[in-house]
Protein backbone atom coordinates (compact mmCIF):
# COMPACT_ATOMS: atom_id res chain seq x y z
CA UNK A 1 0.00 0.00 0.00
CA UNK A 2 1.17 3.52 -0.67
CA UNK A 3 -1.46 6.23 -0.98
CA UNK A 4 -0.24 9.75 -0.38
CA UNK A 5 -2.25 12.78 0.71
CA UNK A 6 -0.87 16.32 0.71
CA UNK A 7 -3.00 19.00 2.39
CA UNK A 8 -2.36 22.76 2.22
CA UNK A 9 1.41 22.32 1.87
CA UNK A 10 3.27 25.59 2.35
CA UNK A 11 6.99 26.14 2.20
CA UNK A 12 8.93 29.34 2.73
CA UNK A 13 12.63 30.08 2.38
CA UNK A 14 13.04 32.99 4.76
CA UNK A 15 10.41 35.54 3.83
CA UNK A 16 9.79 34.05 0.39
CA UNK A 17 6.97 31.55 0.10
CA UNK A 18 7.60 29.13 -2.78
CA UNK A 19 4.69 26.72 -2.21
CA UNK A 20 1.36 28.40 -1.58
CA UNK A 21 -0.87 25.66 -0.23
CA UNK A 22 -0.70 22.53 -2.37
CA UNK A 23 -3.39 19.86 -2.18
CA UNK A 24 -2.83 16.54 -3.86
CA UNK A 25 -4.05 12.97 -3.51
CA UNK A 26 -2.13 10.05 -4.94
CA UNK A 27 -3.85 6.69 -4.97
CA UNK A 28 -1.98 3.46 -4.21
CA UNK A 29 -0.08 2.32 -7.30
CA UNK A 30 -0.72 5.51 -9.22
CA UNK A 31 1.90 7.15 -11.46
CA UNK A 32 1.62 10.88 -10.80
CA UNK A 33 3.71 13.41 -12.69
CA UNK A 34 4.36 16.92 -11.39
CA UNK A 35 5.04 19.16 -14.35
CA UNK A 36 5.66 22.86 -14.69
CA UNK A 37 8.24 25.39 -15.78
CA UNK A 38 11.62 25.58 -14.04
CA UNK A 39 11.47 27.20 -10.60
CA UNK A 40 7.77 26.57 -10.01
CA UNK A 41 8.42 24.48 -6.89
CA UNK A 42 8.20 20.90 -8.16
CA UNK A 43 11.46 19.79 -6.55
CA UNK A 44 10.60 21.59 -3.34
CA UNK A 45 7.29 19.75 -3.15
CA UNK A 46 8.94 16.40 -3.87
CA UNK A 47 11.70 17.01 -1.33
CA UNK A 48 9.11 18.01 1.26
CA UNK A 49 7.40 14.71 0.65
CA UNK A 50 10.73 12.92 1.03
CA UNK A 51 11.46 14.75 4.27
CA UNK A 52 14.55 16.49 2.92
CA UNK A 53 12.82 19.86 3.43
CA UNK A 54 10.77 20.84 6.46
CA UNK A 55 7.46 22.31 5.38
CA UNK A 56 6.23 25.57 6.88
CA UNK A 57 2.64 24.40 7.03
CA UNK A 58 0.27 21.65 5.99
CA UNK A 59 -0.08 17.93 6.42
CA UNK A 60 1.48 14.97 4.61
CA UNK A 61 0.19 11.46 5.16
CA UNK A 62 0.90 8.03 3.72
CA UNK A 63 -1.90 5.49 4.01
CA UNK A 64 -3.69 7.85 6.35
CA UNK A 65 -0.84 8.21 8.85
CA UNK A 66 0.86 11.58 9.19
CA UNK A 67 4.58 11.53 8.29
CA UNK A 68 5.35 15.24 8.72
CA UNK A 69 7.37 14.66 11.88
CA UNK A 70 9.22 11.59 10.64
CA UNK A 71 12.83 11.82 9.36
CA UNK A 72 13.39 10.81 5.71
CA UNK A 73 14.52 7.28 6.57
CA UNK A 74 11.35 6.48 8.51
CA UNK A 75 8.98 7.58 5.76
CA UNK A 76 9.38 4.42 3.68
CA UNK A 77 10.01 6.49 0.58
CA UNK A 78 12.85 6.07 -1.92
CA UNK A 79 14.10 8.83 -4.19
CA UNK A 80 15.94 8.87 -7.51
CA UNK A 81 17.93 12.08 -7.96
CA UNK A 82 18.54 14.02 -11.15
CA UNK A 83 22.32 13.59 -10.96
CA UNK A 84 21.89 9.98 -9.77
CA UNK A 85 23.78 10.76 -6.52
CA UNK A 86 25.59 7.41 -6.63
CA UNK A 87 28.35 6.90 -4.08
CA UNK A 88 31.55 7.04 -6.19
CA UNK A 89 33.58 4.86 -3.81
CA UNK A 90 31.12 1.96 -3.82
CA UNK A 91 30.56 -0.45 -6.66
CA UNK A 92 27.11 -1.02 -8.12
CA UNK A 93 26.22 -3.81 -5.69
CA UNK A 94 27.36 -1.76 -2.68
CA UNK A 95 25.47 1.28 -3.92
CA UNK A 96 22.31 -0.73 -4.26
CA UNK A 97 22.73 -2.51 -0.94
CA UNK A 98 23.68 0.55 1.12
CA UNK A 99 20.20 1.26 2.48
CA UNK A 100 19.81 -2.39 3.54
CA UNK A 101 23.23 -2.33 5.17
CA UNK A 102 22.18 0.75 7.15
CA UNK A 103 19.01 -1.10 8.14
CA UNK A 104 21.25 -3.94 9.47
CA UNK A 105 19.83 -6.53 7.06
CA UNK A 106 21.94 -9.70 6.96
CA UNK A 107 24.58 -10.02 4.26
CA UNK A 108 23.03 -12.96 2.38
CA UNK A 109 19.66 -11.24 2.33
CA UNK A 110 21.22 -8.02 0.97
CA UNK A 111 22.96 -10.06 -1.72
CA UNK A 112 19.73 -11.77 -2.71
CA UNK A 113 17.77 -8.52 -2.91
CA UNK A 114 20.50 -6.75 -4.85
CA UNK A 115 20.72 -9.67 -7.32
CA UNK A 116 16.98 -9.62 -7.84
CA UNK A 117 16.86 -5.88 -8.46
CA UNK A 118 19.89 -6.14 -10.74
CA UNK A 119 18.09 -8.78 -12.77
CA UNK A 120 15.00 -6.62 -13.17
CA UNK A 121 17.16 -3.74 -14.42
CA UNK A 122 19.62 -5.94 -16.40
CA UNK A 123 22.50 -4.75 -14.25
CA UNK A 124 23.79 -8.19 -13.28
CA UNK A 125 27.01 -8.03 -15.35
CA UNK A 126 27.80 -4.59 -13.93
CA UNK A 127 27.51 -5.34 -10.21
CA UNK A 128 31.27 -5.14 -9.62
CA UNK A 129 31.76 -1.90 -11.54
CA UNK A 130 32.17 1.57 -10.08
CA UNK A 131 29.90 4.49 -11.07
CA UNK A 132 32.78 6.07 -13.02
CA UNK A 133 32.85 3.08 -15.31
CA UNK A 134 29.17 3.29 -16.25
CA UNK A 135 27.34 5.19 -18.98
CA UNK A 136 24.65 7.73 -18.14
CA UNK A 137 21.82 5.29 -18.76
CA UNK A 138 23.48 2.60 -16.65
CA UNK A 139 23.99 5.03 -13.76
CA UNK A 140 20.34 5.96 -14.05
CA UNK A 141 19.42 2.30 -13.74
CA UNK A 142 21.66 1.85 -10.69
CA UNK A 143 19.96 4.83 -9.06
CA UNK A 144 16.64 3.13 -9.72
CA UNK A 145 18.00 -0.16 -8.42
CA UNK A 146 19.00 1.54 -5.20
CA UNK A 147 15.39 2.61 -4.78
CA UNK A 148 13.93 -0.76 -5.75
CA UNK A 149 15.89 -2.90 -3.26
CA UNK A 150 14.30 -1.00 -0.40
CA UNK A 151 10.83 -2.01 -1.57
CA UNK A 152 9.35 1.30 -0.39
CA UNK A 153 5.74 2.44 -0.39
CA UNK A 154 6.46 5.34 -2.72
CA UNK A 155 9.12 6.11 -5.34
CA UNK A 156 10.07 9.71 -5.99
CA UNK A 157 11.83 10.75 -9.20
CA UNK A 158 13.23 14.26 -9.64
CA UNK A 159 13.83 14.94 -13.35
CA UNK A 160 15.65 11.62 -13.69
CA UNK A 161 16.07 11.78 -17.45
CA UNK A 162 17.22 15.34 -17.95
CA UNK A 163 20.92 14.40 -18.07
CA UNK A 164 20.43 11.82 -20.82
CA UNK A 165 20.50 12.34 -24.57
CA UNK A 166 17.24 12.37 -26.51
CA UNK A 167 17.28 8.76 -27.73
CA UNK A 168 18.19 7.35 -24.32
CA UNK A 169 15.51 9.48 -22.72
CA UNK A 170 12.82 7.87 -24.84
CA UNK A 171 14.16 4.41 -23.99
CA UNK A 172 14.39 5.09 -20.24
CA UNK A 173 10.92 6.60 -20.31
CA UNK A 174 9.60 3.29 -21.53
CA UNK A 175 11.71 1.39 -18.98
CA UNK A 176 10.43 3.39 -16.04
CA UNK A 177 6.87 2.97 -17.22
CA UNK A 178 7.40 -0.77 -17.59
CA UNK A 179 8.98 -0.94 -14.15
CA UNK A 180 5.95 0.76 -12.70
CA UNK A 181 3.64 -1.76 -14.33
CA UNK A 182 5.78 -4.60 -13.04
CA UNK A 183 6.18 -3.44 -9.43
CA UNK A 184 2.88 -1.60 -9.05
CA UNK A 185 4.44 0.84 -6.57
CA UNK A 186 3.17 4.40 -6.26
CA UNK A 187 5.37 6.86 -8.15
CA UNK A 188 5.57 10.63 -7.90
CA UNK A 189 7.65 11.88 -10.80
CA UNK A 190 8.86 15.42 -11.45
CA UNK A 191 9.67 16.79 -14.89
CA UNK A 192 9.55 20.06 -16.79
CA UNK A 193 8.97 18.19 -20.03
CA UNK A 194 5.26 17.98 -20.87
CA UNK A 195 5.83 15.12 -23.34
CA UNK A 196 7.35 13.02 -20.55
CA UNK A 197 4.34 13.90 -18.42
CA UNK A 198 1.82 13.03 -21.14
CA UNK A 199 3.43 9.71 -22.04
CA UNK A 200 4.06 8.37 -18.55
CA UNK A 201 1.43 9.69 -16.17
CA UNK A 202 -1.79 8.22 -14.89
CA UNK A 203 -2.38 11.65 -13.47
CA UNK A 204 -0.67 14.96 -14.21
CA UNK A 205 -0.32 17.85 -11.78
CA UNK A 206 0.45 21.10 -13.59
CA UNK A 207 2.20 23.62 -11.36
CA UNK A 208 3.13 27.26 -11.79
CA UNK A 209 4.72 29.65 -9.28
CA UNK A 210 4.00 27.40 -6.30
CA UNK A 211 0.34 26.85 -7.17
CA UNK A 212 -1.40 23.84 -8.65
CA UNK A 213 -2.99 24.94 -11.92
CA UNK A 214 -4.81 21.71 -12.74
CA UNK A 215 -4.84 18.04 -11.83
CA UNK A 216 -6.12 15.41 -14.23
CA UNK A 217 -5.46 12.52 -16.59
CA UNK A 218 -3.24 13.42 -19.58
CA UNK A 219 -6.10 13.50 -22.09
CA UNK A 220 -8.32 15.46 -19.70
CA UNK A 221 -5.71 18.20 -19.58
CA UNK A 222 -5.36 18.06 -23.34
CA UNK A 223 -9.08 18.17 -24.06
CA UNK A 224 -10.22 20.42 -21.28
CA UNK A 225 -7.44 22.70 -19.94
CA UNK A 226 -8.66 24.68 -16.93
CA UNK A 227 -6.89 27.86 -17.95
CA UNK A 228 -4.70 29.48 -20.56
CA UNK A 229 -1.48 28.44 -18.83
CA UNK A 230 -2.32 24.73 -18.86
CA UNK A 231 -3.66 25.03 -22.40
CA UNK A 232 -0.38 26.52 -23.58
CA UNK A 233 1.84 24.20 -21.54
CA UNK A 234 0.27 20.85 -22.42
CA UNK A 235 0.42 19.77 -26.05
CA UNK A 236 3.10 20.17 -28.69
CA UNK A 237 3.18 22.27 -30.77
CA UNK A 238 1.53 24.72 -28.38
CA UNK A 239 -2.05 25.96 -28.65
CA UNK A 240 -2.80 29.14 -30.63
CA UNK A 241 -4.50 32.00 -28.81
CA UNK A 242 -6.57 34.46 -30.86
CA UNK A 243 -8.59 37.42 -29.51
CA UNK A 244 -12.28 36.98 -30.37
CA UNK A 245 -15.81 37.96 -29.36
CA UNK A 246 -19.22 36.32 -29.47
CA UNK A 247 -21.73 37.43 -32.08
CA UNK A 248 -24.79 35.46 -33.16
CA UNK A 249 -23.32 32.37 -31.51
CA UNK A 250 -20.14 32.66 -33.63
CA UNK A 251 -16.60 33.40 -32.51
CA UNK A 252 -15.74 36.55 -34.43
CA UNK A 253 -12.13 37.58 -34.93
CA UNK A 254 -10.78 41.13 -34.84
CA UNK A 255 -11.42 41.78 -38.55
CA UNK A 256 -14.97 40.42 -38.35
CA UNK A 257 -14.40 36.99 -39.89
CA UNK A 258 -16.23 34.15 -38.17
CA UNK A 259 -13.85 31.36 -37.08
CA UNK A 260 -16.20 28.76 -35.62
CA UNK A 261 -19.32 28.45 -33.47
CA UNK A 262 -18.60 29.91 -30.02
CA UNK A 263 -18.67 27.39 -27.13
CA UNK A 264 -22.10 27.07 -25.55
CA UNK A 265 -22.90 29.28 -22.58
CA UNK A 266 -20.92 32.35 -23.61
CA UNK A 267 -22.87 35.63 -23.40
CA UNK A 268 -23.57 37.50 -26.61
CA UNK A 269 -20.97 40.27 -27.25
CA UNK A 270 -18.43 38.85 -24.75
CA UNK A 271 -14.77 39.36 -25.65
CA UNK A 272 -12.62 36.30 -24.95
CA UNK A 273 -9.43 34.52 -25.99
CA UNK A 274 -10.06 31.70 -28.40
CA UNK A 275 -7.69 28.74 -28.06
CA UNK A 276 -7.20 26.31 -30.93
CA UNK A 277 -4.57 23.57 -31.15
CA UNK A 278 -2.60 23.52 -34.44
CA UNK A 279 -3.80 19.98 -35.14
CA UNK A 280 -7.45 21.02 -34.83
CA UNK A 281 -7.32 23.60 -37.62
CA UNK A 282 -8.30 22.32 -41.09
CA UNK A 283 -7.82 23.74 -44.53
CA UNK A 284 -11.34 23.81 -46.07
CA UNK A 285 -13.26 25.15 -49.06
CA UNK A 286 -14.85 27.88 -47.04
CA UNK A 287 -13.93 29.35 -43.66
CA UNK A 288 -11.84 32.11 -42.14
CA UNK A 289 -9.45 33.52 -44.73
CA UNK A 290 -5.76 33.60 -43.89
CA UNK A 291 -2.40 34.21 -45.59
CA UNK A 292 0.40 31.66 -45.41
CA UNK A 293 3.64 33.15 -44.07
CA UNK A 294 5.79 30.08 -43.43
CA UNK A 295 5.69 26.38 -44.43
CA UNK A 296 7.60 23.64 -42.56
CA UNK A 297 7.10 20.06 -43.74
CA UNK A 298 8.35 17.57 -41.13
CA UNK A 299 7.54 14.45 -43.14
CA UNK A 300 4.77 12.95 -41.08
CA UNK A 301 2.92 16.22 -41.09
CA UNK A 302 3.11 19.70 -42.52
CA UNK A 303 3.20 22.67 -40.21
CA UNK A 304 2.52 26.12 -41.55
CA UNK A 305 2.11 29.54 -40.04
CA UNK A 306 -0.66 31.80 -41.30
CA UNK A 307 -1.68 35.34 -40.60
CA UNK A 308 -5.27 35.11 -39.33
CA UNK A 309 -6.91 38.47 -38.62
CA UNK A 310 -3.58 39.95 -37.59
CA UNK A 311 -2.55 37.03 -35.32
CA UNK A 312 0.17 34.58 -36.22
CA UNK A 313 -1.37 31.09 -36.05
CA UNK A 314 0.28 27.69 -36.42
CA UNK A 315 -1.54 24.96 -38.30
CA UNK A 316 -0.47 21.33 -38.40
CA UNK A 317 -1.99 18.83 -40.80
CA UNK A 318 -1.36 15.28 -41.98
CA UNK A 319 -2.85 16.08 -45.39
CA UNK A 320 -0.42 16.65 -48.23
CA UNK A 321 -1.45 20.24 -48.87
CA UNK A 322 0.61 22.10 -51.42
CA UNK A 323 1.14 25.55 -50.01
CA UNK A 324 3.60 28.31 -50.51
CA UNK A 325 4.44 31.58 -48.90
CA UNK A 326 1.75 34.17 -49.71
CA UNK A 327 -1.01 31.67 -50.61
CA UNK A 328 -4.52 32.40 -49.36
CA UNK A 329 -6.22 29.57 -47.48
CA UNK A 330 -9.46 29.28 -45.61
CA UNK A 331 -9.40 27.59 -42.23
CA UNK A 332 -12.01 25.90 -40.08
CA UNK A 333 -11.86 24.44 -36.57
CA UNK A 334 -12.78 20.81 -35.89
CA UNK A 335 -16.22 20.82 -34.24
CA UNK A 336 -16.03 21.22 -30.47
CA UNK A 337 -12.29 21.96 -30.47
CA UNK A 338 -12.50 25.67 -29.85
CA UNK A 339 -11.57 26.62 -26.27
CA UNK A 340 -12.58 29.93 -24.72
CA UNK A 341 -10.57 31.66 -22.00
CA UNK A 342 -11.24 34.81 -20.02
CA UNK A 343 -9.25 37.77 -21.42
CA UNK A 344 -8.19 38.94 -17.96
CA UNK A 345 -7.90 35.89 -15.70
CA UNK A 346 -7.18 33.28 -18.35
CA UNK A 347 -9.72 30.93 -16.76
CA UNK A 348 -11.62 28.54 -18.99
CA UNK A 349 -15.02 29.83 -20.07
CA UNK A 350 -16.14 26.89 -22.18
Amino acid sequence: MGSVALREIRKSYGAVEVLHGIDLDVADGEFVVLVGPSGCGKSTLLRSLAGLETISGGEISIDGASIVHLPPKSRDIAMVFQNYALYPHMNVAENMGFALKMAKVSKPEIDAKVRKAAEILSLTPLLERYPKQLSGGQRQRVAMGRAIVRDPKVFLFDEPLSNLDAALRVQMRAEIKELHQRLGTTIVYVTHDQIEAMTMADKIVVMKDGHVEQIGAPLELYDCPANRFVAGFIGSPAMNFIPARVQNGQALLADGTALAPAPAGLAEGLAFVAGVRPEHLMVTEQGAAATVTLVEPTGAEIQFVVDLAGTSVLVSTRDRVNLRHGDRVSLAVEPGRLHAFDTETGQRLG
Binding site: A78, A85, Y87, P88, M90, A99
Partner: protein, 295 residues
Protein backbone atom coordinates in the same frame (compact mmCIF):
# COMPACT_ATOMS: atom_id res chain seq x y z
CA UNK B 1 57.53 30.50 -35.47
CA UNK B 2 58.16 26.81 -36.11
CA UNK B 3 57.80 23.95 -33.70
CA UNK B 4 61.54 23.57 -33.14
CA UNK B 5 62.07 27.12 -31.93
CA UNK B 6 58.92 26.78 -29.79
CA UNK B 7 60.56 23.92 -27.96
CA UNK B 8 63.77 25.91 -27.46
CA UNK B 9 61.77 28.83 -26.16
CA UNK B 10 60.06 26.49 -23.69
CA UNK B 11 63.40 25.12 -22.48
CA UNK B 12 64.71 28.65 -22.16
CA UNK B 13 61.71 29.71 -20.10
CA UNK B 14 61.96 26.85 -17.60
CA UNK B 15 65.74 27.04 -17.39
CA UNK B 16 65.83 29.42 -14.38
CA UNK B 17 63.60 27.09 -12.37
CA UNK B 18 65.62 24.03 -13.32
CA UNK B 19 68.83 25.85 -12.44
CA UNK B 20 67.41 26.95 -9.09
CA UNK B 21 66.29 23.42 -8.24
CA UNK B 22 69.72 22.05 -9.15
CA UNK B 23 71.53 24.75 -7.21
CA UNK B 24 69.42 24.91 -4.09
CA UNK B 25 67.87 21.45 -3.75
CA UNK B 26 69.98 18.81 -5.46
CA UNK B 27 73.31 20.56 -4.74
CA UNK B 28 72.94 20.79 -0.97
CA UNK B 29 71.45 17.29 -0.85
CA UNK B 30 74.50 15.96 -2.63
CA UNK B 31 76.76 17.94 -0.28
CA UNK B 32 75.04 16.59 2.80
CA UNK B 33 75.21 13.05 1.45
CA UNK B 34 78.96 13.29 0.76
CA UNK B 35 79.56 15.15 4.00
CA UNK B 36 77.90 12.35 5.95
CA UNK B 37 80.45 9.94 4.46
CA UNK B 38 83.41 12.15 5.30
CA UNK B 39 85.17 12.01 8.63
CA UNK B 40 85.90 15.21 10.52
CA UNK B 41 88.25 15.70 13.37
CA UNK B 42 88.29 19.10 15.02
CA UNK B 43 86.62 20.65 11.97
CA UNK B 44 89.28 19.20 9.64
CA UNK B 45 88.41 16.79 6.84
CA UNK B 46 90.03 13.42 7.49
CA UNK B 47 89.12 11.08 4.66
CA UNK B 48 86.08 10.26 2.57
CA UNK B 49 84.19 6.99 2.25
CA UNK B 50 83.64 6.00 5.83
CA UNK B 51 80.60 5.13 7.86
CA UNK B 52 82.20 6.53 11.00
CA UNK B 53 79.63 9.34 11.27
CA UNK B 54 76.76 6.87 11.21
CA UNK B 55 78.55 4.69 13.75
CA UNK B 56 79.07 7.70 15.98
CA UNK B 57 75.41 8.55 15.65
CA UNK B 58 74.43 5.01 16.57
CA UNK B 59 76.70 5.08 19.62
CA UNK B 60 75.48 8.52 20.72
CA UNK B 61 73.58 7.99 24.03
CA UNK B 62 71.18 10.82 23.16
CA UNK B 63 70.27 9.34 19.78
CA UNK B 64 67.52 7.00 21.15
CA UNK B 65 65.93 9.95 23.00
CA UNK B 66 66.05 12.02 19.83
CA UNK B 67 64.41 9.22 17.85
CA UNK B 68 61.71 8.76 20.48
CA UNK B 69 61.03 12.52 20.63
CA UNK B 70 60.99 12.81 16.87
CA UNK B 71 58.42 10.03 16.66
CA UNK B 72 56.23 11.88 19.18
CA UNK B 73 56.83 15.13 17.32
CA UNK B 74 56.15 13.89 13.80
CA UNK B 75 53.65 11.06 14.25
CA UNK B 76 51.94 12.49 17.34
CA UNK B 77 51.92 15.99 15.88
CA UNK B 78 50.55 14.83 12.53
CA UNK B 79 47.94 12.60 14.13
CA UNK B 80 46.66 15.32 16.47
CA UNK B 81 46.82 17.97 13.73
CA UNK B 82 44.76 15.88 11.34
CA UNK B 83 42.30 14.54 13.90
CA UNK B 84 41.57 17.91 15.48
CA UNK B 85 41.69 19.51 12.02
CA UNK B 86 39.10 17.03 10.81
CA UNK B 87 36.86 17.68 13.82
CA UNK B 88 37.18 21.46 13.52
CA UNK B 89 36.81 21.31 9.73
CA UNK B 90 33.63 19.26 10.06
CA UNK B 91 32.25 21.84 12.45
CA UNK B 92 33.27 24.74 10.18
CA UNK B 93 31.57 23.07 7.22
CA UNK B 94 28.18 23.62 8.84
CA UNK B 95 26.35 26.53 7.23
CA UNK B 96 25.77 29.38 9.66
CA UNK B 97 26.79 32.98 10.24
CA UNK B 98 29.03 31.96 13.12
CA UNK B 99 31.03 29.40 11.15
CA UNK B 100 31.47 31.87 8.27
CA UNK B 101 33.11 34.30 10.69
CA UNK B 102 35.13 31.53 12.36
CA UNK B 103 36.45 30.32 9.02
CA UNK B 104 38.27 33.64 8.69
CA UNK B 105 39.28 33.99 12.34
CA UNK B 106 40.76 30.54 12.62
CA UNK B 107 43.63 31.52 10.35
CA UNK B 108 44.97 33.97 12.94
CA UNK B 109 47.69 31.61 14.24
CA UNK B 110 49.00 31.51 10.66
CA UNK B 111 49.51 35.24 10.50
CA UNK B 112 52.00 35.29 13.37
CA UNK B 113 55.67 34.65 12.64
CA UNK B 114 57.02 31.39 14.07
CA UNK B 115 59.29 33.18 16.51
CA UNK B 116 56.46 35.28 17.93
CA UNK B 117 54.31 32.19 18.42
CA UNK B 118 57.17 30.37 20.08
CA UNK B 119 58.06 33.24 22.42
CA UNK B 120 54.44 33.90 23.36
CA UNK B 121 53.83 30.27 24.22
CA UNK B 122 57.16 29.96 26.00
CA UNK B 123 56.17 32.74 28.40
CA UNK B 124 52.57 31.60 28.74
CA UNK B 125 53.82 28.14 29.72
CA UNK B 126 56.59 29.45 31.96
CA UNK B 127 56.87 27.79 35.37
CA UNK B 128 56.97 30.98 37.49
CA UNK B 129 55.48 33.81 35.43
CA UNK B 130 53.34 31.93 32.87
CA UNK B 131 49.65 32.89 32.73
CA UNK B 132 48.57 29.31 32.14
CA UNK B 133 50.24 27.92 35.24
CA UNK B 134 48.95 30.95 37.14
CA UNK B 135 45.38 30.32 35.94
CA UNK B 136 45.69 26.69 37.04
CA UNK B 137 46.66 27.63 40.60
CA UNK B 138 44.08 30.43 40.88
CA UNK B 139 41.25 28.11 39.90
CA UNK B 140 42.59 25.58 42.36
CA UNK B 141 43.33 23.01 39.71
CA UNK B 142 46.93 22.59 40.92
CA UNK B 143 48.69 23.39 44.22
CA UNK B 144 51.55 25.33 42.63
CA UNK B 145 52.28 26.35 39.04
CA UNK B 146 53.38 23.55 36.73
CA UNK B 147 56.60 24.11 34.88
CA UNK B 148 55.24 22.88 31.58
CA UNK B 149 58.47 23.24 29.64
CA UNK B 150 60.70 22.30 32.56
CA UNK B 151 59.23 18.88 33.17
CA UNK B 152 61.05 16.27 31.02
CA UNK B 153 57.93 14.06 30.91
CA UNK B 154 55.67 16.91 29.83
CA UNK B 155 57.79 19.07 27.59
CA UNK B 156 57.48 17.02 24.40
CA UNK B 157 53.70 16.95 24.65
CA UNK B 158 53.56 20.69 25.30
CA UNK B 159 55.50 21.23 22.09
CA UNK B 160 52.97 19.05 20.27
CA UNK B 161 50.09 21.13 21.71
CA UNK B 162 51.63 24.37 20.46
CA UNK B 163 52.40 22.73 17.13
CA UNK B 164 48.77 21.67 16.74
CA UNK B 165 47.60 25.16 17.72
CA UNK B 166 49.76 26.59 14.96
CA UNK B 167 49.37 24.07 12.15
CA UNK B 168 45.85 22.76 12.66
CA UNK B 169 43.89 25.78 11.29
CA UNK B 170 45.01 25.32 7.71
CA UNK B 171 44.36 21.58 7.94
CA UNK B 172 40.88 22.39 9.25
CA UNK B 173 40.23 24.85 6.43
CA UNK B 174 41.40 22.48 3.72
CA UNK B 175 39.25 19.68 5.12
CA UNK B 176 36.33 22.08 5.59
CA UNK B 177 36.55 22.99 1.91
CA UNK B 178 36.74 19.31 0.97
CA UNK B 179 33.69 18.47 3.10
CA UNK B 180 31.73 21.35 1.62
CA UNK B 181 32.44 20.11 -1.87
CA UNK B 182 30.90 16.69 -1.20
CA UNK B 183 27.84 16.69 -3.50
CA UNK B 184 24.73 17.58 -1.49
CA UNK B 185 22.76 14.96 -3.39
CA UNK B 186 25.01 12.20 -2.05
CA UNK B 187 24.37 13.33 1.51
CA UNK B 188 20.64 13.51 0.82
CA UNK B 189 20.65 10.11 -0.83
CA UNK B 190 22.33 8.66 2.25
CA UNK B 191 19.76 10.33 4.48
CA UNK B 192 17.05 8.67 2.40
CA UNK B 193 19.00 5.42 2.69
CA UNK B 194 18.67 5.65 6.44
CA UNK B 195 22.21 6.62 7.42
CA UNK B 196 22.46 8.63 10.64
CA UNK B 197 24.93 11.51 11.08
CA UNK B 198 27.77 9.23 12.19
CA UNK B 199 27.16 6.77 9.35
CA UNK B 200 26.93 9.60 6.79
CA UNK B 201 30.30 10.83 8.00
CA UNK B 202 31.83 7.38 7.92
CA UNK B 203 30.34 6.08 4.64
CA UNK B 204 29.83 9.19 2.53
CA UNK B 205 31.90 12.16 3.69
CA UNK B 206 35.12 10.34 4.63
CA UNK B 207 35.43 8.39 1.36
CA UNK B 208 34.65 11.54 -0.60
CA UNK B 209 37.38 13.53 1.12
CA UNK B 210 39.86 10.64 1.25
CA UNK B 211 42.04 12.29 -1.35
CA UNK B 212 42.27 15.61 0.52
CA UNK B 213 42.72 13.78 3.80
CA UNK B 214 45.75 11.77 2.66
CA UNK B 215 47.23 14.81 0.94
CA UNK B 216 46.81 17.00 4.00
CA UNK B 217 48.21 14.27 6.26
CA UNK B 218 51.37 13.93 4.24
CA UNK B 219 51.78 17.67 3.83
CA UNK B 220 51.40 18.17 7.59
CA UNK B 221 53.95 15.46 8.16
CA UNK B 222 56.42 17.22 5.89
CA UNK B 223 55.74 20.61 7.52
CA UNK B 224 56.21 19.17 10.96
CA UNK B 225 59.38 17.34 10.03
CA UNK B 226 60.78 20.59 8.66
CA UNK B 227 59.56 22.72 11.61
CA UNK B 228 62.52 24.02 13.56
CA UNK B 229 61.79 27.46 15.00
CA UNK B 230 59.04 26.37 17.40
CA UNK B 231 61.00 23.74 19.36
CA UNK B 232 64.32 25.58 19.11
CA UNK B 233 62.98 28.88 20.47
CA UNK B 234 60.68 27.32 23.05
CA UNK B 235 63.06 24.79 24.60
CA UNK B 236 66.25 24.60 22.56
CA UNK B 237 66.01 20.85 23.02
CA UNK B 238 66.02 21.06 26.81
CA UNK B 239 65.70 20.42 29.63
CA UNK B 240 68.68 18.08 29.35
CA UNK B 241 67.81 16.99 25.80
CA UNK B 242 64.31 15.95 26.94
CA UNK B 243 62.80 17.72 23.92
CA UNK B 244 65.66 17.22 21.50
CA UNK B 245 64.25 16.26 18.09
CA UNK B 246 65.95 15.52 14.80
CA UNK B 247 65.88 19.11 13.49
CA UNK B 248 67.09 20.75 16.71
CA UNK B 249 69.72 18.08 17.20
CA UNK B 250 71.02 18.48 13.65
CA UNK B 251 71.24 22.22 14.19
CA UNK B 252 72.96 21.85 17.55
CA UNK B 253 75.46 19.27 16.32
CA UNK B 254 76.27 21.22 13.15
CA UNK B 255 76.26 24.83 14.22
CA UNK B 256 76.81 24.83 17.98
CA UNK B 257 79.27 21.94 18.26
CA UNK B 258 80.43 22.06 14.61
CA UNK B 259 80.04 18.33 14.55
CA UNK B 260 79.25 18.34 10.82
CA UNK B 261 79.79 14.69 10.25
CA UNK B 262 77.19 13.57 12.77
CA UNK B 263 74.88 16.44 11.77
CA UNK B 264 74.94 15.42 8.13
CA UNK B 265 74.53 11.73 8.98
CA UNK B 266 71.43 12.67 10.91
CA UNK B 267 70.21 14.78 7.99
CA UNK B 268 70.54 11.76 5.75
CA UNK B 269 68.46 9.71 8.19
CA UNK B 270 65.94 12.54 8.18
CA UNK B 271 65.89 12.61 4.38
CA UNK B 272 65.36 8.87 4.27
CA UNK B 273 62.37 9.29 6.52
CA UNK B 274 60.90 12.03 4.32
CA UNK B 275 61.37 9.91 1.20
CA UNK B 276 59.39 7.17 2.93
CA UNK B 277 56.58 9.61 3.74
CA UNK B 278 56.35 10.91 0.18
CA UNK B 279 56.58 7.38 -1.19
CA UNK B 280 53.69 6.36 1.04
CA UNK B 281 51.72 9.35 -0.21
CA UNK B 282 52.29 8.44 -3.84
CA UNK B 283 51.41 4.83 -3.14
CA UNK B 284 48.17 5.71 -1.35
CA UNK B 285 47.18 8.09 -4.12
CA UNK B 286 47.82 5.50 -6.78
CA UNK B 287 45.28 3.26 -5.07
CA UNK B 288 42.79 6.01 -4.48
CA UNK B 289 39.53 5.82 -6.45
CA UNK B 290 39.74 9.57 -6.89
CA UNK B 291 42.84 9.14 -9.01
CA UNK B 292 42.10 5.96 -10.92
CA UNK B 293 38.46 5.01 -10.93
CA UNK B 294 38.72 1.48 -9.59
CA UNK B 295 40.55 -0.39 -6.92
Amino acid sequence: MNRRSDAWLAYFMIFPVVAAVLAFVLGPTWDVATLSLTQFVMGQERGFGTLANFRALWADPIFPTVVRNTVIWILGGTLFCVVTGLAVGTFLAIDSKMTTALRALILLPWVLPDVVTAMAWKWMLHGQVGVIGDAFTRTGLTEKPISFLGDPNLVMWMLVVVLVWRKMPLVALILCAAIRSVPAEQIEASRMDGANARQRFRHVILPNIAFSLTAVTVISMIWITAEFTLPWVMTGGGPANASQIMSTYIYQQSFTFFNWGVGSAMSVVNLGFLICVVGLYLYVNRRSWAAGGSK
